[in-house]
Amino acid sequence: MARLLHYAAHPAPSSSQANRAMLRVVRGLEGITQVDLYAEYPRYDIDIAEEQARLLAHDVIVLQFPLFWYSCPALVKEWLDLVWEHGFAYGQGGDKLKGKTLLLAVTTGGPQEAYSAEGYQHFELRTFLTPFEQTARLAQMRFLAPYVFHGALKRDPAAHALGFGTLLGALRDERLDLRAAETTDILTHDTLPLIGIN
């Protein structure tokens, strides 16, 4: 059993479709820790000590958020800036996250085709997410391919949300092929590399 810590961050939960559906599924899972970042810190008063203790107590960290201007919502950035300190996540003595796993779960308004050199977003989604990838690398963490829901404004999120539940369950139960999840480009609900299923 891996100890799994799931963060969800959405500043306008009442108008959310995709992220809300995902969160509902996650809340039905047993044996994981779930944190709604905007509910926990509505005034951005992030408790650094508490957050670091939380990170220390878990093996797999999942960050779920909608893509806003090719990045994360502001509070996620604030959380990273404050919690992933020098001496904790990186630098001298900053090996507290070493060996842990980081997974992003991202929803985007743009459709999959748009995220390519030919598409109107001009770049691969993974290119936009390189800051997170490098953050994980600097913290000596394992960075998995992000679990992505493209075209979030037009598609029914139900299958994606259920797949998210399966993904987190597999991570918790160590039934996800991490090597495969590390090397692939993105994860979707129908391409999960689960062990013992292929």
């Binding site: 500043p11 509910a39 404004l153």
Partner: protein, 639 residues
């Protein structure tokens, strides 16, 4: 009775006439008083007034001044001053005495007479110097502090000098046992030396212990009566009582009250005492300076004008020389050593005392006294001129940016909190937590007691009284928190401070919306309603309790605050103190519009729009249109 009234009127009127003119001309109040005294002297001679006895009475102003000076000086600071006190003060008295006495011996005077004259002229004028330093804001600089140390030492030194002088009596002369000045009653006159020492030490211990343990309960008890004049009476009785006790054991009353002041420096009643005593100090000192002016013996002066003027200047030059050497030796910086050297170059009121004492003990020939007194008086008269010389000529030369007196001590804190209740108390705690120093004023003795148990220093008094605000340092304050319980008092205070100390930033506790308008009209700009923020938080908690997401609850309550503040501002424009709101049609109309906007926000309006804007993604049909446009652009793009 009418004699007394006539005299009182004469002195008061002379002071009122001369002092404002002198200060307007930049001469300082002391010179103004001295000139008033000179102008009065013919009238006083005509009325056969005993100027000298008035002067003895007025000397009590010095005693009061030392009490106030003591209050500014915490025991810790006094201890820090000890080296200067003994070093500078001791060397000044010894050096000046030696120099003056030596000169006298050279001119053929008996060594005993010479020594007595040296001691007499070594004293400087506490009254003139402290008054002038305080008035010109020079007290806190290095030179001011050094001057203070010397004056304090001289004040202490008078006691052993009084003991020494009788020993200098010319052999053969009779001891009259009567002096015009010494204590008429004494607890220590007829007892053994060691017993006297014991009584004296006991008296000092009594003053210190009384100041530490008795004053607080006493003043608290008096404060409960809430009668201003009784508090003033207590304060006066306190100072007079200590002076009396000191005189009885043969100590300087100024020293005693100074000690009492130091003991009370940390007391919560300090500012109240200061504002109560200060007017008396000012009046008495003024009277004292006038008597100095009035006591000039013009007949003698004209007779021997050049001799006396020459002697006066010689004495002052000798004193200044000794002081300057000490100033260099003790490392006073820049212009400060000249302030020290010139400021203390006069002889002082203790000189009068010592002269008459020495004459009555047959140390000095009686014929010498008028000349000495004249020299002392003239040197005092010249002192304001020396201060002006320092300010206009010497200081500008040193006033290069690098030479600034950067070691000035700010004894008065730049933050005043008026009212340490539920509102001001929290502000104070926040300021202290951030490392700021505050001066707290409160009229509840109970509240102050509680503060003390938490180690917070507060001062007793009615904060709306201008003189108390002044004593608390409103003149130098940066920030004033107006947080009294009574809305009307807050308003009065805002009004007063806005008009008299416009530089002070005020943060004001408002009772409600209407009070905000009144405070605004009184000149407040930083107004904070006392329960508004907590009510908003309660509303936000209610949102959350009803299942609203905490971040949305936060945003909605912020939008509410914005809308409310907007409404408050708009309504302030039409609010009219003369018309009750319910009868002000314009106000009612606007209030109705604004309130509907907020309270019925759910069904539309500006409030709702503000909260709904934010992280709204485009609608599906919009994204489709966007996509087509963007792919179209790309196709047209030659790259």
């Amino acid at each position: 009775m009418s004699d007394f009234l006539l005299l009182a009127f004469l002195f008061l009127a002379a002071g009122v006439a001369a002092v404002p003119i002198a200060t307007a001309l930049g001469l300082g109040s002391v010179l103004g008083y001295l000139i008033a005294g000179i102008a009065l002297s013919p009238v006083l001679t005509l009325l056969e007034v005993d100027v000298v006895s008035i002067q003895h009475f007025a000397e009590f102003g010095v005693v009061m001044m030392l009490f106030l000076v003591g209050q500014e000086l915490e025991p810790k600071r006094l201890w820090e001053l000890r080296n200067r006190l003994l070093g500078l003060g001791g060397l000044q008295v010894a050096g000046t005495t030696a120099l003056v006495a030596g000169a006298c011996i050279v001119f053929g005077l008996d060594w005993r007479i010479s020594l007595a004259i040296g001691l007499i002229l070594a004293m400087s004028s506490t009254a003139i110097v402290l008054q002038t330093l305080g008035e010109k804001g020079l007290m806190r600089g290095d030179g001011g502090q050094a001057s203070f140390s010397v004056l304090l030492f001289q004040d202490i030194a008078v006691i052993p000098i009084l003991a020494l002088v009788p020993l200098l009596a010319i052999p053969g002369a009779h001891h009259a046992g009567e002096d015009g000045h010494g204590p008429s009653m004494s607890l220590v006159a007829d007892i053994e030396g060691w017993q006297a020492a014991l009584v004296t030490a006991g008296a000092i211990a009594l003053v210190i212990a009384g100041g530490m343990f008795l004053t607080r309960p006493l003043f608290r008890y008096i404060a409960k009566a809430r009668l201003r004049e009784i508090f003033v009476a207590t304060a006066l009785a306190f100072v007079v009582g200590i002076a009396l006790l000191m005189t009885l054991v043969g100590l300087s009353p100024a020293l005693g009250t100074f000690l009492a002041g130091v003991v009370l420096a940390n007391s919560e009643y300090r500012h109240e005492l200061e504002s109560d005593i200060d007017p008396f100090r000012g009046l008495l000192l003024g009277l004292f300076f006038m008597t100095v002016g009035a006591a000039i013996n013009f007949a003698l002066l004209w007779d021997e004008l050049f001799l006396i003027l020459g002697l006066t200047i010689a004495v002052m030059a000798a004193k200044a020389l000794v002081l300057l050497i000490l100033g260099f030796g003790f490392g006073l910086r820049g212009s400060q050593k000249y302030l020290f050297g010139l400021g203390l170059a006069q002889a002082g009121e203790f000189g009068f005392v010592l002269t008459s004492f020495a004459v009555s003990n047959f140390v000095l020939p009686e014929t010498m006294a008028p000349t000495l007194n004249l020299i002392i008086t003239l040197s005092m008269m010249l002192t304001p001129g020396l201060f002006i010389f320092y300010e206009r000529v010497i200081r500008p030369r040193f006033d290069r940016p690098t030479d600034r007196d950067d070691d000035e001590i700010t004894e008065q804190h730049p933050i005043i909190i008026a009212g340490h209740g539920r509102y001001g108390g929290i502000v104070n705690r926040m300021l202290l937590a951030a490392g700021y120093r505050t001066t707290v004023l409160d009229h509840s003795a109970g509240q102050l007691d509680m503060l003390r148990t938490f180690g917070i220093n507060g001062f007793y008094g009615d904060a709306t009284r201008p003189d108390l605000l002044t004593a608390a340092g409103i003149g130098e304050a940066k920030l004033l928190i107006v947080a009294l319980d009574d809305p009307d008092q807050n308003e009065a205070m805002v009004h007063y401070v806005h008009h008299n100390h416009p530089h002070v930033h005020m943060i004001v506790r408002a009772h409600d919306r209407r009070h905000v308008y009144r405070l605004y009209q009184a000149g407040a700009r930083d107004i904070i309603r006392e329960t508004f923020d907590s009510s908003v938080r309660a509303g936000r908690s209610a949102y959350e309790a009803l299942g609203m997401h905490p971040f949305e609850a936060e945003r909605l309550s912020r939008a509410f605050v914005d809308a409310d503040r907007h409404a408050l501002y708009e309504l302030a424009q039409v609010w009219d103190p003369a018309i009750p709101e319910t009868e002000n049609p314009e106000y009612i109309k606007l209030a109705r519009e604004l309130m509907t906007d907020i309270e019925l926000g759910a069904s539309g309006g500006a409030f709702r729009e503000r909260t709904e804007r934010g992280w709204t993604p485009p609608l599906p049909q919009d994204t489709e249109a966007d996509r087509q446009r963007q792919t179209g652009q790309r196709a047209a793009d030659p790259r």
